[in-house]
């Protein structure tokens, strides 16, 4: 008698694994007994189990050996052992992709699927559909249709689920089974109902009307399956989302009614759907929040987790709606499931008052080491949000963060903490010193190069301006001694900034630099030598240009220009001004912090928008010779939304020209537009040189037409101009269905809104990290000053916003944020004027009745100063 497993295994006790030392070749050898007659079901069953187990462990089967085993296995269909047959189905599914010619079992499976044994029928259908391709599907279509409406639930379910899997492959065939699926949806069996609903939705999801009808039908008739209810809720909320319908629609009523379902799963799904709806009012949220509140005291951990996670979500947008649950959440902060406790605390931090912060922080620090990194990041994010809300609490937070920083943790976690500390430092000047001290301590023992360099950069920027800059030097110089090349180089740069800013430190910094010049790494040595020489000059302007405020050009642009220069050697030195400027990245406002931010997509280094435009424009022959692209504006809409044609314009500024790019979309499906140009009539001395038409605009495919305009040479102050725009084109009517156009067309035109060119189009934003140094660097040769009264502006914030958007310059030193309760403010703006002239603006604002503004402009070019003052006036 052959036992299930080797005797040896049994004797070694229950700890051993009978599958542990399986050899693929030995198992395949054993598989030969499949060919013996009569079939021994028990032995064969065991061998099949071993094969599946091996596949499951990730063992690789070659095509030949897999095919061989597969063909031997087909013989087992002769046996009538139930379990053996079922294992054959499993083997077929597992091997469908690795063996060849799996379709030979089609007939056996078809026989089982239509046979009398109900136990075989469902699994046979699923195995069959796994090996079937589109062409074969036609052959079994008849059986599938019958199976979908079969009265045995397992058969019907199997057929429906298999159909769903096959929708991806052969949508057109499965689409024909809609009527059968419809019939199955009214089945009494809850799973059949659920699967039928899923398939129906999948087949109809692109047809909104059909989905609406289906929803209406099922929401009226009611369903038995809780799964089906969840599915319906999801469909309904998606539909609500798409139609942007008000929340008074029957769909919303349906979702709300599900809050009273007797199954928890459905109730939770409905509550979660309501919470996730955009622009939900507090009143609409209330019933959802109250069921979630009940779940908070459930004995089931999963339910508590689900509830508190959803409440956390609510708390981000509507903290007041969750306040009612505070007591329940308090009970959860000691939950043995640390995920639940963490979520409860972070929710409370959002909803609670300032006074509870200390207590909660203490509680969370008691177990922060036990939770996973994902949740630690959630905690850090909550703290970060809290610091913005209660700036006075920053000392508690800073303390907590520094403790967290000392603990073990992955890169994501550490980065979140460092980012949080940096943002606190930026928001609260009084926390700067403690924050910098914590970061200094952190880099003493930091394995992440990225974080170390980031912190060193920050030290270089902020350190010199603290009362005691000397204490940071030690930390920085330690890096030079101990760390890898990248960190050493960053440390050298930071040191140089101290030397440039603080005259009394300069001699010591120079000594340290001297040592760095012996470094083994080229980059470190180069930097040290460079800074050494700059510092020895002791000139403010040099320091500003080469130490504080680095290059502001676009790096890909610089690379391209240098490459071009080496290709065409010339006598002239390389001109930095010919390189396009870097567009300042708009700092994202982190208004919404995802509770668990886990986007795992690697961040791609996308070329900036401007680099893309540069590339596009350079490929048009007419635009060659315009020089580097200076600035591209944000798109301006020239039509109302939902008109026949949608046109938006992007203004590309070059040194002496402007290219207007008109992105046109034709929204009429019975028209084809050709030779589309936008004719422009300037109000000033601007000269239209060239039109480049969009050759053809079929329905809903956007195309671009360009207009090239020369700026007036003789009058450099003429920076603003209004253009009246008319789109001209040839219309050819066409068949809406086929898109086939008529042979002849007629000319037509369409009036667009006027387009303005303003001073902002001539200025590129440039961030000067150290504005004071830049201000000295430019010098007062062409300084001009004027005072204006802004009568219509009521607050300083508004004035600052207006000035920034009007001039299109970059605010520096965070001067765009006006401190509260102040009557005066100084705004620093930096930019580069078309042609490569630096422009700096200092605006002193005072709030009296209106806002009075004193503007001081400095630039390396006199006309630029005039332009700015003239346009402000």
């Amino acid at each position: 008698m052959i036992k299930k497993f080797d005797k040896k295994d049994e004797e070694s006790g229950s700890g051993s694994n009978p599958f542990q030392h399986l050899e693929k070749s030995a198992v395949l050898q054993e598989a030969r007994i499949f060919n013996e007659t009569p079939i021994n079901p028990r032995r064969c069953l065991h061998i099949l189990t071993k094969i599946i187990y091996l596949l499951n462990q990730g063992e690789h089967f070659g095509t030949t050996e897999a095919t061989e085993a597969f063909f031997a296995m087909t013989r087992l269909f002769q046996s009538n052992d139930q379990t053996l047959r079922r294992m054959c189905y499993l083997t077929i599914k597992e091997m469908a992709n690795i063996s060849e010619d799996v379709i030979i079992v089609t007939s056996s499976l078809t026989k089982d699927m239509t046979g009398k044994e109900d136990v075989y029928r469902g699994p046979a259908i699923r195995a069959l559909c796994r090996i079937t391709d589109t062409t074969m599907l036609q052959a079994i279509e008849r059986y599938m249709k019958q199976a979908i409406v079969d009265k045995v639930p397992s058969v019907s379910s199997s057929a429906l689920v298999s159909s769903l899997h096959m929708v991806k492959m052969s949508y057109d065939v499965v689409k024909r089974w809609v009527n059968e699926a419809q019939e199955a949806a009214s089945s009494d069996n809850i799973m059949v109902q659920y699967h039928a609903l899923g398939l129906l939705y999948h087949l109809r999801k692109n047809d909104r009307l059909a989905v609406t009808k289906m929803l209406n039908k099922f929401t009226k008739s009611g369903l038995k399956s809780p799964f089906a209810y969840c599915m319906l809720i999801r469909i309904a909320s998606k539909l609500l989302d798409e139609t942007e319908g008000g929340h008074d629609s029957p769909l919303f009523d349906f979702i709300e009614s599900c809050l009273r379902n007797k199954n928890e799963m459905v109730v939770y799904e409905a509550a979660s759907a309501i919470v996730h709806m955009p622009n939900c009012t507090a009143r609409e949220l209330a019933p959802a929040v109250s069921v979630l509140q009940l779940f908070c005291s459930s004995p089931k951990a999963a339910l508590r987790y689900a509830a508190v996670r959803t409440l956390n979500k609510v708390a981000m947008k509507h903290p007041s709606a969750v306040t009612a649950c505070n007591l329940d959440l308090e009970n959860l902060i000691t939950d043995s499931n640390r995920s639940i406790a963490t979520l409860a605390i972070t929710t409370l931090l959002k909803t609670g008052s300032e006074s509870s912060v200390d207590r909660l922080m203490k509680q969370i620090s008691s177990f922060v080491s036990e939770i996973s990194d994902e949740f630690k990041v959630v905690v850090v994010q909550a703290i970060s949000a809290l610091c913005q809300k209660y700036p006075r609490k920053h000392s508690v937070m800073m303390n907590f963060l520094s403790n967290m920083l000392r603990d073990d943790g992955g890169f994501e976690y550490k980065r979140a903490i460092v980012d949080c500390i940096i943002s606190i430092i930026e928001e609260n000047p009084e926390s700067k010193e403690t924050g910098l001290a914590h970061l200094c301590e952190f880099i003493e023992d930091c394995e992440h190069t990225v974080l170390a360099t980031k912190i060193l950069h920050l030290l270089g920027k902020e350190g010199p301006r603290t009362p005691q800059p000397s204490k940071y030097i030690r930390f920085i110089f330690n890096r030079v001694v101990l760390e890898s090349e990248a960190v050493r180089a960053a440390a050298v740069s930071a040191l140089a900034k101290f030397g440039a800013q603080n005259d009394d430190l300069l001699p010591s910094v120079l000594v340290l630099m001297q040592r760095c010049m012996m470094d083994s790494d080229d980059e470190v040595r180069d930097r040290a030598t460079f800074y050494m020489n700059v510092l020895q000059q002791k000139q403010k302007a040099l320091n500003a240009a080469y130490i504080f405020n680095g290059l502001s050009v676009s790096i890909p642009g610089l690379e391209k220009s240098l490459h071009q220069y080496t290709l065409e050697p010339s006598e002239k030195p390389f001109d930095m001004k010919s390189v396009p400027l870097a567009t300042t990245p708009i700092t994202e406002q982190k208004t919404e912090i995802a509770p668990v931010a886990t986007s795992k997509l690697p961040e791609k280094l996308a070329p900036s928008r401007q680099d893309i435009y540069q590339e596009q424009l350079a490929s048009i022959p007419e635009f060659q010779g315009l020089g580097p692209l200076f600035k591209s504006s944000e798109p301006v809409q020239l039509t109302e939304a939902e008109t026949e044609y949608v046109v938006r314009c992007i203004k590309h500024t070059f040194t002496r020209h402007i290219v207007f790019q008109f992105d046109c979309t034709n929204t009429l499906n019975d028209q084809l537009l050709q030779k589309v140009i936008v004719q422009m009539e300037p109000s000033e001395a601007y000269e239209v040189i060239h039109y480049i038409p969009a050759p053809s605009l079929p329905y809903s495919q956007p195309g671009s037409s360009y207009t090239l305009v020369r700026l007036p040479d003789d009058d450099p102050t003429a920076v603003s101009c209004t253009f009246s725009c008319t789109m001209k084109y040839l219309v050819r009517d066409c068949d809406p269905n086929t898109g086939e156009p008529d042979d002849d067309g007629y000319d037509d035109e369409y009036v667009l809104e006027d387009l303005e060119v303003t001073v902002a189009d001539h200025i590129q934003k440039v961030l000067k990290p150290n504005f004071g140094a830049a201000w000295e660097e430019v010098g007062d040769e062409f300084e001009k000053e004027e005072t204006f009264a802004l009568a219509s502006v009521r607050t300083l914030d508004e004035a600052v916003g207006n000035i920034i958007s009007f001039l299109g310059m970059q605010p520096c030193e965070r001067s765009d944020k006006v401190p509260e309760n102040k009557n005066s403010h100084v705004l620093f703006l930096a930019g580069v004027f078309r042609g490569g002239h630096d422009v700096l603006v200092r605006a002193r604002l005072a709030l009296a009745d209106g806002v009075t503004m004193q503007v001081t402009v400095r630039s390396s070019e006199e006309s630029v100063v005039d332009v700015i003052l003239a346009s402000v006036g």
């Binding site: 379990t83 699994p123 899923g198 996730h276 999963a302 499931n337």
Partner: protein
Amino acid sequence: MDSTNLEPSLYTVKAVFILDNDGNRLLSKYYDPEFYPSMKEQKNFESNVFSKTHKADNEIAFLEGMTIVYKSSIDLFFYVVGSAQENELMLMSVLNCLFDSLTHILRKNVERRCLLDNMEGVFLVVDEIIDGGVILESDPQQVLQKVNYRADENPLTEQSVTQVLQSAKEQIKWSILK
């Protein structure tokens, strides 16, 4: 990504796996071809999940952007994985169904050795509960009926004396341990 609503779909389960108390894989099924397609990624994921969950019996965890519900029994760990937006209770119903069905076919001996001895039954149960990520059945009674499999179905005459003793020993041992 968390704010985007879930596309209505029947594809609920991303993966199911059963590990032993050393974190070794006994059975695992991944249903989404985009979710850890390679064996190496799968095993990394499993060992990460195991290391974070085996100490505390907490029922639910959130790791690598996935919601994971789990349950342990003696020296076995059962996991069901779904996306972050998935209804946690749906995943829980799958896990419960899996556990209850296995409890039944293993005659309440939900431990490693017994599970491995009845591996074919385990494969069949998993196959009846989830098909390609879709919940096929969530009622353990229905699953058992469809699988129609009982542990130790070999008649007593076929069993050697040592085997009987062995199984008796284990029965006693576990009944004492419980």
